[in-house]
Amino acid sequence: MHILVIEDDERIGENLKTFLKKERFQTTVVNNAEDGLFQAEEESYDVVVIDWMLPDGSGIDICRKLRSKNRAVPILMLTAKSQTEDKVEGLASGADDYLTKPFAKEELVARIKSLIRRSAETKGSPIIKIGNLQLNINTTEVKLGNKIVNLAPKEYALLEYLTLHKDKVIDRMTLLHHVWGDDVDDFSNTIDVHIRYLRQKIAGKNNKALIKTVINKGYMICED
């Protein structure tokens, strides 16, 4: 999962990056509205976290601009205001949720996860099932039938992204961006290596591969 954080306070931004990383989110932090809008438009992110007050504009404006360009990316507003009217304004501008500053780490993570779940059409449930594979995105527990599968963090992140976008072909670049973020070189074969490991750990019924390779396009997870 790749998250864009638009937050002007550098230390807050860095702190968010640090603990989101611990939660296995790739995080890009930008410090102003202009860069934020550019990033959100150019790249595909799973969630955009926007601070309400930025030095060169308001979070609400970014929100409106993104929505007017039909970007459906889930937006979480960070606000130092706790008044009802502000919440209403924030939600009306197209934000999906808001969180008032200061917040506890757990709260932020929970909100982000819930936004991801909602946007992935899992109907809000943290559990995603594909065949006999079962993945709980809250606890990051992965089960095959009744057996718990132990995955390395990157393997899990890869699997989570694919399952959240199941039945869709995801190209390598997108996977790299969402799972590894910016800290990997585009031309390495990291993805293929991780996919291979994953396939070994989670084979579908009759040992059929759940993760399919679509030649020249990318990977896809689907039942059957």
Binding site: F19, T84, E85, P102
Partner: protein, 459 residues
């Protein structure tokens, strides 16, 4: 003695002035009337005397001879006609004839008769005779410069005095009426004059620095004291409003600005590599920071509280059970610590005009106070009854309670009851009060020291 209101004072002063004016006017009138009537009477008397002398008396023979006038009327008839009394004396001052009142007694006239006898000039006097007031003229009867007698002619003025009495009565009645009337008129006038002041008082009473836009307007002479006062007042409200809004802005900005460093500190604590020894400490610091944040939120709320323009909906449904579960979660630790049972009897949803967030603030403050000020191992009971007009909510605790004095101040900003051992800032209930005022919600408090407190509201 009860002190008079300015309005009553005004009216009384007005009445007094009117009364004084009336007295002076009437006295003048009375005086002029009396003088005029006496003058008129004396004029009449001397005319009558002249008529008698020329028509009824013959004097040129050196003695007094009586005769009838041209119409054939005798002196007696003439006197009867004029309702006059007369006395005619000869040169030796012995009575020749007497008529009317003078028949019986004329001693009272003697000094004047002597005087005229000596001076040989007519004299006007007023006398009382036989319980009657008389205006009298004493005239010397002369022929060729020789005095041969004296004519005394008198007319009763009792009628005139009667008239004067009526005048006094009328005056008293008029005086009374005018006093009463002028008091009423004065009261009304004073009221009208004071209307701007009363308006001013109302405005001051309702003064709320958020909604002071209704400044007073009075028409009138710009030099008028009241107009001046009101204009000054308007200027003052503008300044006050300005000050209040700047102060509010400051508090709002300050609270707002403080949120960023708070967030910085909290998020930094959260990424701090923690060892088992420091973990507990870090959690404590974090707790403190969140507590500071809670206070900031309260201050912010105090400055920014206003009617929620986004929900004009009068009868919205509120999931009150969600509020209760939030509150229960907040109070979890405290309830366990004090071994208090919190029982809530409520429908899941109520219909009310107050927005969710505000109802949450109200209930969370009342319930957290109830728990905070309850004795250990007691129960805090919350009851919600939905009815047609809204919902009745009652919060009852068995705790330290409040004296009358404390209860009277519990909603004051920063007020904390005497000998309060609990933590707090005394802002909770002032926020509640503000919200309740905004939505016209009545709060009923009954509390007994060391027994407990019961709060009732209808939302």
């Amino acid at each position: 003695m009860r002190r008079l209101t300015t309005r009553q004072n005004f009216a009384l002063t007005f009445t007094l002035y009117v009364f004084g004016f009336l007295v002076v006017l009437y006295s003048l009138f009375y005086l002029v009337f009396s003088l005029m009537s006496v003058y008129q009477l004396r004029q009449d008397l001397s005319n009558d005397a002249k008529e008698i002398i020329s028509n009824h008396l013959l004097l040129d023979k050196g003695e007094i001879i009586f005769r009838k006038d041209k119409t054939g009327a005798s002196l007696k008839q003439f006197l009867l006609n004029e309702n006059a009394s007369a006395l005619i004396l000869d040169a030796k001052k012995s009575t020749v004839r007497s008529y009317g009142l003078f028949i019986y007694d004329n001693t009272i006239l003697q000094p004047f008769i002597n005087k005229v006898q000596a001076s040989k000039k007519p004299e006007n006097i007023s006398v009382s005779l036989n319980k009657q007031k008389l205006e009298v003229i004493v005239v010397p009867l002369k022929t060729n410069g020789v005095q041969i007698g004296i004519l005394v002619l008198g007319i009763s003025v009792t009628d005139l005095y009667g008239f004067k009495q009526i005048m006094i009565d009328v005056f008293l009645l008029l005086g009374f009426l005018s006093v009463a009337g002028s008091f009423i008129v004065g009261y009304v006038l004073a009221g009208r004059t004071l209307t701007p002041l009363i308006k001013l008082a109302k405005v001051v009473e309702e003064m709320d620095f958020d909604r002071m836009e209704s400044s007073l307007t009075v028409e009138g002479n710009p030099q008028d004291e009241l107009v001046l006062l009101i204009n000054r007042f308007n200027e003052m409200t503008i300044r006050l409003k300005d000050m209040a809004s700047r102060q509010k802005e400051f508090v709002a900005n300050a609270s707002h600005e403080l949120k960023t460093p708070l967030t910085r500190a909290i998020t930094s604590l959260e990424v701090l590599p923690s060892s088992p020894e420091t973990a507990a400490e870090i959690e404590l610091i974090k707790g403190d920071l969140f507590q500071i944040n809670a206070l900031l939120d309260k201050l912010l709320l105090l400055t920014r509280l206003k009617k929620d323009s986004h929900s004009p909906n009068k009868n919205q449904s509120i999931k009150i059970n969600r509020i209760f579960s939030i509150i229960k979660k907040q109070l979890e630790g405290k309830l366990k610590e004090k071994q208090i049972t919190l029982t809530i009897t409520s429908p899941e949803i109520i219909k009310t005009s107050i927005p969710f967030e505000y109802l949450e603030i109200i209930l969370s403050n009342f319930i957290s106070n109830a728990v905070k000020y309850s004795f250990n191992q007691k129960a805090v009971r919350v009851r919600v009854d939905q009815h047609q007009a809204g919902a009745d909510i009652e919060i009852v605790d068995q705790g330290v309670g409040m004296t009358k004095e404390e209860a009277a101040h519990m909603f004051d900003r920063f007020y904390r009851g005497g000998a309060n051992k609990e933590k707090g800032y005394g802002v909770g209930l002032s926020i509640v009060k503000q919200i309740c005022d905004l939505y016209n919600i009545d709060i009923k408090v009954s509390s007994k020291k060391n027994r407990g407190t019961s709060i009732k509201i209808s939302v």
